[in-house]
């Protein structure tokens, strides 16, 4: 017994030494990649890293999950200050401006040009690329996992309630909600206080500004204005619906967030990311008919493109030259059409390049059952060319601003606070955040 333990330890040691020796023999350049995805999606990133390591012999990428978008940003900052930053890091949409002004990165275009890769930058969907590009359209980071908000509904419940139309407009959503209620459904539409679909996506598709200066693209002195746009009416509409118990608040504090409320068929309609498409398909009991649509608009609104969500990959400054060669090789590798298709298949994320999308469409990817409907996310993102209001959101401290908005929504829907007063307050407090950000980066210009 004891002997066998010693034997296995020795065997392990031997294996470890041989394993340790082989990379040294091959002289691979190692570099690090930090990302924020967790759970199932983290496994898929690990698969991508493994595929890259097996595809060539010169570089070895070490991928580490930081278990969350915000922690990835925090850890990247801490590591950069300690000069231990990874070569590549994944930063979410709301952290884009923080990175841009940090001066702590190598611009995407420069990296690829320096290392001899020719990338067709126009191949990226403009709705996606614009979110991460400078005001002149140069990409600083690589769009990686991209999503947008969509509208999910339970087609079975619709049928039972005798609803014979698709919820394309909010008027139709209201009508559907009334019919569902009449048919005995307790929660026709579930919603939470996430400003991403309610404020950001709503404002984009209705071509409403969130802030002045083209949502911040034209200067750090932008000011929030969403307390004076259609968004206010939209919140009032939600409030009215909530008072009539047609729209129901579902948060984890109440016991169930919107996603489980939909997959448990408690609620029949929700707005959430296309990235949840896979989860919803997997979680809903077999045989339940459901569908996904672009977010509804108000009647007689000219629909605009929606905003991209998700994250992009940034290459950090201050690493040895050899690592950049590896980083460029990796970024080039994951952008190949085959990898793009693989990534979109195993996750719910949408392809970020036109050729990737076309290849998948031609291959019949979107015709088959589990993936059907995901093409509507692309349709939503590319619905129109981007306008000043739909290019993206380039505001400092945006995570904090999101929080101010969701706190206001919480006060409105849970504590009956006045809609206009609460949104005014969110704008005022958000503007304080913007002014502080502007002062912190005094003298810096958006490029």
């Amino acid at each position: 017994m004891k002997l066998s333990v010693i034997q296995s330890v020795l065997a392990g040691l031997l294996a470890a030494t041989t394993l340790g020796a082989s990379p040294a023999f091959a002289e691979k350049t190692k570099f690090e990649f930090w990302y924020g995805l967790s759970g199932d999606l983290s496994e898929r990133v690990q698969d991508a890293c493994k595929k890259f390591n097996e595809s060539q012999a010169d570089y070895e990428i070490v991928c580490t999950s930081q278990n969350g978008y915000d922690t990835t940003l925090q850890n990247t900052i801490a590591a950069y200050r300690a000069k231990k930053q990874p070569a590549i890091t994944q930063i979410y949409d709301a952290g884009t401006l923080d990175l841009m002004l940090s001066g702590a990165f190598v611009p995407a275009r420069k990296l690829m040009a320096d290392n001899g890769y020719t990338i067709d930058w126009n191949n990226y969907f403009s709705g996606i690329a614009n979110y991460y590009a400078t005001s002149t359209g140069e990409l600083n980071s690589f769009p990686f996992n991209s999503s947008t908000a969509m509208f999910y509904y339970n087609a079975d419940a619709f049928q039972k309630a005798g609803i014979d139309f698709k919820p394309d407009t909010w008027e139709q959503v209201e009508e559907a909600a009334r019919k569902l209620k009449a048919a005995g459904y307790e929660c026709p539409l579930g919603f939470n206080f996430d400003p991403w679909p309610m404020l950001e996506q709503f404002s984009a598709i209705h071509n409403q500004p969130i802030a002045t200066k083209a949502n911040g693209y034209e200067g750090l002195d932008a000011e929030l204005v969403f307390n004076k746009t259609k968004f206010v009416d939209h919140v009032k509409f939600f409030k009215k619906m909530a008072d009539e118990k047609l729209f129901v608040v579902k948060t984890k504090q109440l016991g169930m967030d919107i996603l489980p409320s939909f997959t448990s068929q408690t609620c029949q309609m929700i707005q959430t990311s296309i990235a949840d498409h896979g989860t919803i398909g997997k979680t809903l009991p077999e045989g339940v008919k459901w569908d996904v649509a672009m977010l509804p608009v108000w009647k007689s609104t000219e629909r605009q493109n929606s905003l991209v969500g998700g994250a992009s990959l940034w290459v950090m400054a201050g690493r040895p030259e050899a690592e950049y060669k590896g980083a460029a090789a990796f970024l080039n590798y994951i952008a190949t059409p085959e990898m793009a298709e693989w990534w979109s298949t195993v996750t719910g994320y949408i392809p970020v390049t036109k050729t990737g999308f076309d290849a998948m469409k031609a291959g019949g990817f979107y015709d088959k059952a589990p993936y059907k409907g995901r093409e509507r996310a692309i349709e939503s993102l590319a619905y129109t060319p981007t306008s000043q209001n739909t290019r993206g959101i380039r505001l400092g401290g945006f995570t904090q601003i999101r929080k101010e908005v969701s706190t206001s929504l919480e006060a409105i829907f849970m504590q009956n606070a006045d809609v206009q007063a609460e949104l005014d307050q969110a704008v005022e407090r958000g503007n304080t955040v913007l002014r502080r950000f502007e002062k912190t980066y005094a003298g810096q210009k958006l490029n």
Binding site: Y80, Q253, G255, K403, V433, T440
Partner: protein, 296 residues
């Protein structure tokens, strides 16, 4: 009689203390100095030139009504949390100290919650006490909104205090039980023979004799309630500071501003105010309460 061993050399004790001193310097004084520096500048997250702004960060902090809200919430949390942990711990300790059958088992059970991490407890209680799906769901079905921490700030505050007390009562319990066991048995036995019941004995003999332990727990629990890791962990995993700032304790606000808002300077200023507040509290406790706790 007074034969004390005195070290002649001064460097030897310092040498022995060096590891500890190095740790304190590294993990306490150095960050504290960095926080001081950040509190008076506008620190860009990725580093670089930070502009000196004097007291502006503090002015911003004090001008924010929600900051004062968080001070109030923290005070309520620390006072109620401390009071309830000590009262619960005391009652349990008095009961176990009577050494009735099963005391050993209960002593073990009462300490258990202390072994559970605050965030884990918070997560569990979020489900157990969730208004629509938890234990109170049936009560809420009859009396709507009887218990709704997602709606009422006061309910949410009760929720986080209950979790805090649930966890930390085990800690006060073990200290108070140890204290009770050092109360001379002769005193309680004499009182019992004179006809004093368990409650009278507790009020007149045991609790006064416990005064030093109670004072120690008061200081520890107040500090824990203000700045303890559990305070943040519990709030973060149950209410997230809501509803509408209802449970936004000072530590939660600081972490949130620093790491979510990347406002290192504002958060540093708040930290300094918090450190000051703790110092004032501890001073008051030692200056005015400690004097009364010693018995001869």
């Amino acid at each position: 009689m007074d034969k004390r061993a005195v070290f002649k050399s001064w460097w030897l004790p310092i040498l022995f203390a060096l590891p500890q001193i190095a740790l304190i310097l590294l993990f306490f004084y150095w960050p504290a100095v960095a926080v001081m520096r950040w509190a008076f500048t506008l620190e860009p997250p990725f580093g670089g030139a930070a502009e000196f702004v004097g007291w502006a960060n503090f002015q911003d902090v004090f001008a924010d009504p929600f900051y004062w809200n968080s001070v109030g919430v923290s005070l309520i949390f620390a006072f109620c949390g401390t009071a309830s942990t000590i009262v619960v711990g005391l009652v349990l300790a008095l009961a176990v100290d009577r050494q009735l059958p099963g005391s050993g088992l209960f002593r073990f059970l009462y300490i258990l919650p202390y072994a559970i991490a605050g965030p884990a407890a918070g997560m569990a209680f979020r489900f157990i006490l969730s208004p629509e799906r938890g234990l109170m769901a049936s009560v809420n079905a009859v009396f709507p909104d009887f218990w709704n921490p997602a709606k009422y700030g006061s309910h949410a505050l009760v929720l986080v205090i209950v979790i805090f007390a649930w966890k930390w009562a085990g800690y006060t319990f073990i200290f108070l039980l140890a204290g009770l066991q050092s109360v001379p048995r002769a005193l309680t036995e004499a009182a019992a023979m004179d006809g004093a019941g368990p409650i009278r004995r507790a009020v007149d003999i045991q609790i006064p004799m416990l005064a030093p332990t109670l004072f120690f727990l008061l200081v520890i629990m107040m500090t824990e309630g203000f700045v303890g890791a559990d305070t943040f962990g519990i709030v973060h995993h149950t209410t997230g500071g809501g509803p509408n700032h209802g449970t936004e304790v000072m530590v939660f606000r600081i972490v949130d501003e620093a790491f979510k808002g990347l406002n290192y300077s504002g958060a540093s200023a708040q930290s300094i105010v918090l450190i000051g507040l703790i110092m004032v509290f501890t001073f008051i406790q030692f200056r005015f309460i400690e004097k009364r706790v010693h018995y001869k």
